[in-house]
């Protein structure tokens, strides 16, 4: 994503087992916060 110019903060790959509910919640919460910080992506819409 970064290679085509999309902020890397918007993308994350993580390994979460089906048994790791708490970890899953944490990963999603962190990503949500990270995306919130960079704000709405207007790049493609306004391009």
């Amino acid at each position: 994503m970064s290679y085509v110019g999309i902020e890397p903060e918007r993308f994350r790959a993580a390994w979460v087992s089906g048994a790791e509910g708490a970890r899953f919640a944490r990963v999603v919460a962190e990503l949500t916060e990270a995306v919130r910080r960079v704000g709405p992506s207007r790049k493609l819409g306004d391009a």
């Binding site: 290679y3 819409g45 391009a47």
Partner: protein, 297 residues
């Protein structure tokens, strides 16, 4: 009409194969409207074999036409350069083709010339630059064949391998965004890059589906990006880097800068040397191993 050794051998072997009933059809190249064009030709009658040529402009990959009759029974004689043979390997690996259906006449490829330069400069063949994709070809000799029509050639040291990717990687995210935006905004969505691609061999393509509509028919930056990026990711690890997508693009999108980036990543992550090099080596994204890298854990 170029009548070099390879051309003469092509014609002779095509005649023999067709007359002997070993194949029902051969696919090669013939001369086109202009001297710098050698489009694909389909020969069924031995007496038509004299249309075949081998010259500096045989860029088209005849292997993709095997997909037009992928469930057929006919045996096809196929002339293959290094890159074309890799396409055949990929089609066999993807179960789109059984090996017995093709008789491969391999042509070790000295590297082809840039037809666009021929058109714009009018210079004769020997003075033309190599076709872009041939500048960093590592596998000029067919990797799979039934017979070879010429002596194998030594691969030339690639000129500036992955130069476009490295140049882009050196830029900042915003600059990269502007670069791709300027290119993708003019995509016509003609789908030539997909249709010419041997890695794009799905029987039904999601970009064609109307219900549901994954890709809107609106030609706008968002949909153009969606198409271009998803296609690049979809062929990651299966792209043979033949450069046909970039050659056929009517508006000159630097598509290989996407494909080469993915190839470079796959090489760095999995030590992958390239798709379609032999029948056993599968694309790294199509199987799993316990020691696969997992930096994202």
């Amino acid at each position: 009409m170029p009548e070099n050794e390879v051309t003469l051998r092509m014609r002779r072997r095509a005649k023999e194969l067709l007359a002997g009933g070993e194949v029902q059809q051969v696919i090669g190249w013939e001369k086109g409207t202009f001297w710098y064009q050698s489009p694909p030709v389909f020969i069924r009658q031995p007496e038509e074999a004299d249309r075949l040529v081998w010259d500096d402009f045989c860029l088209a990959n005849p292997a993709i036409y095997l997909l037009d009759d992928r469930y057929g029974q006919e045996r096809v004689g196929l002339f293959v350069k290094g890159c074309d043979a890799r396409a055949v390997v990929r089609l066999i690996q993807d179960r789109q083709l059984v090996r017995e259906r093709v008789y491969l006449l391999g042509i070790p490829c000295p590297g082809l010339k840039d037809p666009e330069a021929a058109r714009t400069t009018g210079r004769e063949s020997a003075q033309l630059p190599p076709a872009r994709r041939c500048q960093h070809c590592l596998y000029p000799n067919p990797v799979l064949y039934d017979e070879l029509l010429a002596q194998t050639v030594a691969p030339r040291p690639p000129l500036a391998p992955r130069a476009a990717v490295k140049a882009l990687e050196a830029k900042g995210v915003e600059e990269r965004f502007r670069y791709w935006r300027e290119h993708f905004r003019r995509c016509l969505r003609c789908f030539a890059c997909r249709n010419v691609c041997p890695a794009c061999n799905c029987t039904a393509c999601l970009f064609d589906l109307a219900r549901p509509t994954w890709l809107a028919k609106e030609v706008d930056p968002a949909n153009n990006w969606f198409y271009g990026l998803v296609r690049a990711l979809h062929v990651a690890g299966r792209c043979i880097e033949c450069g046909e997508c970039e050659r056929v693009c009517p508006v000159g999108l630097p598509l290989m800068a996407l494909n080469e980036k993915l190839a470079k990543d796959l090489e760095e992550l999995f030590g992958f040397k390239g798709a379609g090099l032999d029948l056993e080596g599968l694309p790294p994204l199509s199987f799993w191993q316990p020691d696969d890298p997992d930096h994202f854990a």
